[in-house]
Symmetry: C2
Subunit: 423 residues, 2 copies
């Protein structure tokens, strides 16, 4: 049977909108990957009564697992452990081994800065205080996590800083106390990532193939200019899933660009590596976002030489060598300029592949002829070109820039498919 989960996010800073919660999204992905169904996410501020009320509400859903984030710090407004103790009917007790661990961490820090370790003592004792009988997850920063159970339902308490939460989460699915929650047979899952095909066409294809008639469970989901088709299936439906996926692949053809979870920029980097090509970027309205997306990937320096952000026309002329006559005849927002930018940055940085974006992200700068949302994307290698004129409409400056970046990465990806692999 499928295990069910809920997430409780705590933090006044989130409820007053000063900090964007990213932990619930991370946990949602991770739970899905481990075959659990996330039924509900709740966020409350640092009030202990609200936390208790929210915890009771989530447990009342009958879920197998509640994961909490935040509220494990050393100060008085970090109250998650107290709330969990109250809800599970346990006393709070000092865990001496954990205290020793935290003392060692803060002692080393204090010594390195020449500070008095006494300043940490009280906070450390608070952080080492856990519900009686709970299992402690060793601290990543200074806050330990907690695993505790009530009548067969498990609560896992994790720290709020996203990097600490992720590092501690890595120890959760294999935790001996959580064998029942994570040990079952996770349903099979397979993802098709589709670019350049409208969501409605994919939905039509899916219906024509008979939909989820064979016991599969399919989600078609649009995000960031691509569509993900996620097919989940139990052991009995494995054959049906295979047939459905085969049908989708056949009907969607080259629209399916990946069947894994790697980020688009990882596909681009792998494509560059396979082709033995280096990349340089030339960006106007996106102002560095393409280069930054590629550099998201550790090891990007193997293939990314760099780029030129040519926001002003003088930079297009001088740094990218776009001809003055071209700018005067076609304007900076033109297919011709995008092509000249892509070739220019290859020349300037001595790269194999150039990719360029020039467009109008708005809100100002549009004309009837060249409205906000008009964006030219061009990628070149040797004499080969992949180019598109986008008319995104006035979808907002941030969206237009993000769509343009995603489009540019797909241009590089497609271009590289035509370059013979060196491998």
């Amino acid at each position: 049977v499928t295990k069910r989960a809920a997430v409780l996010v705590t933090g006044t800073e989130i409820l007053i909108g000063r900090v964007q919660d990213r932990n619930s999204g991370y946990l949602a992905r991770e739970l899905e990957r481990h075959g659990l169904v996330l039924e509900r996410v709740v966020a409350v501020d640092d009030d202990e009564a609200a936390m208790r009320d929210a915890l009771e509400g989530l447990l009342a859903l009958g879920v197998d697992l509640v994961v909490t984030s935040g509220g494990l710090g050393p100060t008085h407004d970090d109250r998650t452990v107290a709330a969990v103790a109250a809800v599970t009917g346990r006393r709070l007790v000092l865990d001496e081994p954990t205290l020793a661990q935290i003392d060692a961490i803060t002692g080393a820090f204090a010594a390195s800065r020449g500070l008095d370790h006494e300043l940490w003592r009280e906070g450390n004792r608070k952080q080492a205080t856990v519900p009686e009988g709970a299992a402690v997850l060793p601290p990543v920063g200074t806050a330990p996590g907690v695993v505790v159970e009530r009548s067969g339902q498990h609560i896992v308490v994790l720290p709020g800083p996203p990097s600490e939460l992720a590092a501690m989460w890595a120890t959760v699915p294999g935790h001996p106390l959580l064998r029942d929650v994570f040990g079952g047979d996770a349903p099979g899952r397979h993802v098709l990532r589709v670019f350049g095909v409208p969501e409605s066409s994919i939905a039509n294809v899916f219906e024509e193939l008979g939909g989820d008639a064979g016991g599969t469970e399919t989600t078609i989901c649009a995000a960031r200019m691509e569509i993900e088709v996620l097919v989940r299936y139990g052991p009995q439906a494995a054959g049906a899933a295979d047939r459905l996926l085969e049908g989708l692949r056949e009907r969607l053809g080259s629209g399916v660009y990946a069947e894994d979870e790697r980020r688009l920029e990882e596909h681009v980097i792998d494509g560059l590596r396979a082709a033995g090509c280096t990349l340089a970027t030339a960006e106007s309205c996106t102002a560095g976002l393409v280069a930054a997306r590629v550099a998201n990937v550790p090891g990007a320096s193997d293939v990314l030489l760099g780029g030129i952000v040519a926001y002003a026309n003088e930079v297009k002329l001088q740094a990218l060598g776009v001809p003055d006559a071209l700018l005067r005849e076609h304007g900076a927002v033109s297919a011709e300029c995008a092509r000249a930018m892509a070739d220019g940055v290859r020349r300037a940085l001595q790269a194999d592949v150039g990719v360029a974006i020039t467009g109008i992200a708005g809100p100002g700068g549009g004309t009837p002829d060249k409205p906000v949302g008009l964006v030219y994307v061009c990628a070149t290698v040797g004499d080969d070109v992949e180019a598109t004129e986008h008319r995104f409409g006035d979808g907002g400056r941030d969206n237009i820039r993000e769509w343009s970046v995603t489009s540019a990465l797909h241009h590089v990806r497609r271009l590289l498919q035509r370059v013979p692999s060196r491998a």
Copy 2:
């Protein structure tokens, strides 16, 4: 009395972690700005029973307002309006004027693409179907919003796409049906934004000044390398708030860099405008993120000329003119290289102000001498220099890059404070 609110986010794509919810963060900020206390955020998938259960739970908190996001589309899995109708005990009825509005929007779209408008008919009727007696918020995309009331509690139903939600939200605080919710005297609020002072020092200063003894309500919140001190106060506490703020300003000195909500990059652009200076960026490990942050601001092209992403050393040498001997003596990750990059990009793009980042974002590339997290930031104008060596530690590639970008923007801001204003 302070009004209380809750937010319900709907969408299976969020619960399975394929899409990051950003609407709850936006609504949290907006509600805070309007003086409402957001007590709880709940996210559920597209299941109508789950939505009803979550809505009942939020109304049971006694909040004055529940805002929902998502589930207003034309397909069968868009169920928010049905759930709201059930919870408020209302029938679903077709709203003819709204149907005419939606038909006009989709008709124009179909005509522009040469498509058969009949394809939209059924979906449009579904989208124009609302709880009986509800007020309709005109569609921004094709989905209308809804305002509906149950025993003095109001539910506002908004669409899921963030840009649609924000545009429709703009009509909510002034809506005649919501006068009781938004019409009260919002508490006073004032924000001090502090950079370069540890959170614990600010907390100490706050305590030494007597804390919230005069009836103020202060939140000290760290985010993105800055600390925000938010002081809220009722009419009786206005004087106490003034004294507290005065004390904080005096004790924190130049650590307080702003007392408004403008983004850091807006402060940078305003500083550049006031000084009559143009900006160019030279980025290694951040690979374009500084330029992109500055270009977040509409009208950035007035002052941002562009930048050079110098990921490879050859680009530092050739495009930025960093001397070969300097690279050999000090290495690419050095204060000397950062300075040469900042000056080099000013020269290359003929800008007044140059800002440069070079560092090791990890996870690879660190050495005992130059560990992961070592980042040099430098900004120059004329002969004036603002430079810092950061040792961020191994806090994760994304964090190191984001901290570096924020630091670089503060370097430009501080440098500009020493340039006489042209105004």
